[in-house]
């Protein structure tokens, strides 16, 4: 298990981390969320000792992370980068060896991953000759080659096309199922909601919300009410003017209510406008929860 324990870090007068604490268990796929500048990258870098926290500790299986333990981790930094003039297969084998693999194992794993990512025919191409999407695939392979026990990915979905996104999802799910602890940051909250059971949300260097997505949603004191009724937008606005209106379109209105709001009077009110086609009362989705806790 990876334990991020009360990490704090400041750069001159900017506080990057302020007691950030959370865990990632083996087999868990954790979404790590937060607005820009909230400390996600600093947290991930501190796992690899690229940042020295001012206080707090990062532990793996209960122990401070040694250089040897770190070799068993895989990292895909936000700033993607490999050697542009190096051949794809040579490059991957090199990274495998840097992670402590014997040369023949690294070469073998390189072959397997290139096969799996559909890049077997580009093994002898220089990295710079590949398309952007394929370079991203190679970058991912570099993080996975040595079968890491812990996989840390900073914005793995950014810059991927829909097929690339699906490949990435499959691989992350697969790695977690194989027993690796997987943590990744992302701004694509719909995707995170579908993919992860658990999320951690940080803002200004502190964890503001953590837990299973479902629980976080229902724990919110807000509910969203969507009503579809045969009536023009202006009449809808007028009818519900005393409540918090999120959006209105022709025949459809979205309201934000407290979770203990009585619904019967609202159904009746809607019925006065015309025939009600839909009336749904739901907890906020992940991006709404995110905005509630991390918004300005």
């Amino acid at each position: 298990m990876l334990e991020i324990d009360r990490l704090s870090k400041r750069y001159r007068d900017v506080i990057a981390l302020d007691g950030c604490t959370f865990n990632v268990a083996r087999g868990q796929l954790l979404g790590f969320l937060g607005p820009n500048g909230s400390g996600k990258t600093t947290t991930m870098r501190s796992v690899f000792s690229l940042v020295q926290p001012d206080s707090g500790e990062v532990r793996w299986d209960g122990k401070a992370i040694s250089a040897d333990a770190r070799l068993g981790f895989g990292y895909m930094p936000e700033q993607r980068g490999l050697y542009p003039r190096m051949k794809v297969a040579t490059q991957l084998a090199y990274f495998g060896q840097l992670h402590g693999m014997a040369k023949e194992h690294a070469v073998e794993a390189t072959g397997n991953w290139l096969e799996r990512l559909g890049l077997a025919d580009r093994a002898d191409a220089r990295l710079e000759e590949l398309s952007h999407g394929n370079q991203q695939r190679v970058q991912l392979a570099a993080a996975l080659l040595h079968d890491p026990e812990l996989l840390v990915l900073d914005e793995p979905f950014s810059g991927l096309d829909p097929i690339g996104v699906q490949d990435m999802i499959d691989i992350l799910v697969d790695r977690a199922a194989a027993g690796a602890a997987v943590v990744f940051s992302s701004h694509q909250l719909d995707l995170v909601e579908d993919l992860c059971e658990d999320v951690v949300i940080i803002a200004a260097g502190r964890v503001v919300l953590a837990g299973p997505v479902r629980a976080l949603r229902s724990r919110s004191h807000h509910r969203y009410l969507e009503i579809e009724v045969a009536a023009p937008a202006s009449r809808l606005d007028h009818k519900f003017a005393d409540l918090e209106i999120i959006a209105t379109t022709e025949g459809r209105i979205t309201l934000r209510l407290d979770d203990d709001t009585q619904l019967e009077p609202l159904i009746r009110r809607a019925g006065e406008l015309g025939k009600v086609h839909e009336f749904s009362f739901t907890p906020p989705n992940l991006s709404e929860v995110f905005r509630e806790v991390a918004g300005p």
């Binding site: 690229l50 770190r70 070799l71 980068g81």
Partner: protein
């Protein structure tokens, strides 16, 4: 994986990736050709009669052209240069024998049937070497001193035959100093650029997730350094083969002790400056800033070279002090050892300082490199980078 394995992996990558690069293969090939040219040209020249050659130039004559060609011609000829305003004037001059050949505005050498082939070869070689000077200029060495380097090397060979043994030893030691100087100038900038490579490619985070910064730097210095030394050896071997093929090989009259010391100091000096260039490279994150960061080193190197070249005739206080300081010792101590002036304790202290400073520089550079990693914007001050990292 232990530290040595990490260093070896990094070194092997840096070595083989460069060997495989077209740029390296071309530059090695051209350097070998140039060296062969420099050896062959003087021997083409008939030493019995002294010719008088005049070179025409369309437009302004390059600085020192006539002098340099004259130097290359040695005792065989005296060389002058004449300027022409237009190409037509120059052609007329060539036809009526006013000049033996001329260089047109585009740098093409124009000859006629009467032109001495030796002169043509010589001018071609000089123009090529001026190209080198120009590149040296970009490194911050002025062209004049580079020319001095080449002619200095030639003089050494002519002196060594008749001088007494300690002079021969000094001449050999100075020759080794020149080789060291040239090696550092060339391969120092390779290392400088190589160290910044990971930052410009942004691969640095992935690499430093597995190896420590000082291991990465040590590996790079070793990989590129060994390649540099191998290239020097290759060029040296080619030179020896060409010289011995024409029976012109004069083994400098140097004692074995001097030879071994020259080699030891060459390696130490190369290692010291290689690490120093790596440290300079660790301060910056963009290639454009590299030469600025290395400027103090280039100055130090020039100073060391000048102290050595002014002291070739014998011991002096400046030389004595310089030979104890790590940045000057590799270029000055061999001279003193060759002259028999160095005391045993001086050599020991100088060696110890050298090794310790080199090691200290590796650690310092690693720390600065790690500290500067995340401030990929502007150039870091040493102190800031040092404080930014604890490793």
């Amino acid at each position: 994986m232990n530290a040595w394995q990490a260093i070896r992996l990094v070194a092997a990558r840096d070595f083989w990736e460069r060997v495989a690069s077209r740029a390296f293969q071309l530059s090695t090939g051209l350097t070998v050709l140039l060296i062969v040219g420099f050896i062959l040209v003087p021997t083409f020249i008939d030493t019995d009669s002294v010719e008088e050659w005049t070179i025409g130039v369309v437009g302004e004559a390059p600085r020192d052209l006539a002098e340099t060609v004259d130097l290359g011609a040695g005792d065989a000829a005296t060389v002058d240069a004449t300027s022409y305003a237009t190409r037509a004037d120059a052609e007329a001059g060539l036809e009526n024998g006013e000049v033996d050949l001329f260089i047109d505005a585009a740098g093409t050498i124009v000859v006629d049937d009467d032109t001495d082939a030796q002169l043509t070869t010589l001018v071609a070689a000089v123009l090529a070497s001026m190209e080198i000077s120009q590149q040296a200029d970009e490194l911050g060495i002025d062209a004049g001193s580079l020319t001095g380097l080449f002619s200095g090397g030639l003089e050494v060979e002519s002196v060594s035959g008749e001088a007494d043994s300690s002079d021969g030893d000094r001449a050999f030691a100075f020759f080794a100093t020149i080789i060291l100087f040239m090696s550092i100038i060339t391969y120092g900038s390779w290392i400088l650029i190589g160290v910044i490579e990971e930052k410009t490619n942004r691969v640095v985070e992935v690499v430093l997730g597995t190896v420590r910064p000082h291991q990465l730097l040590t590996g790079k210095v070793l990989g590129i350094g060994i390649l540099g030394v191998a290239q020097v050896i290759l060029i040296g071997v080619v030179a020896i083969i060409v010289l011995s093929l024409q029976d012109a090989l004069e083994i400098p009259d140097a004692a074995g002790k001097v030879l071994i010391w020259a080699f030891v100091w060459y390696l130490l000096g190369f290692a010291f400056y290689a690490v120093a260039y790596a440290a300079a490279g660790s301060l910056v994150s963009r290639q454009e800033e590299a030469q600025n960061a290395a400027f103090p080193l280039t100055l130090m190197l020039m100073a060391a070279y000048f102290v050595a070249s002014f002291s070739i005739t014998g011991e002096n206080p400046v030389l004595r002090i310089a030979s104890l300081l790590p940045m000057f010792a590799p270029m000055t101590m061999p001279l003193r050892i060759a002259g028999g002036d160095a005391l045993a304790w001086e050599v020991a202290v100088s060696l110890a300082l050298m090794v310790l400073t080199t090691y200290g520089l590796v650690r310092l550079a690693g720390r600065v490199y790690a500290g500067g990693l995340l401030q990929s914007g502007s150039r870091l001050k040493w102190r800031e980078a040092f404080r930014a990292s604890e490793s």
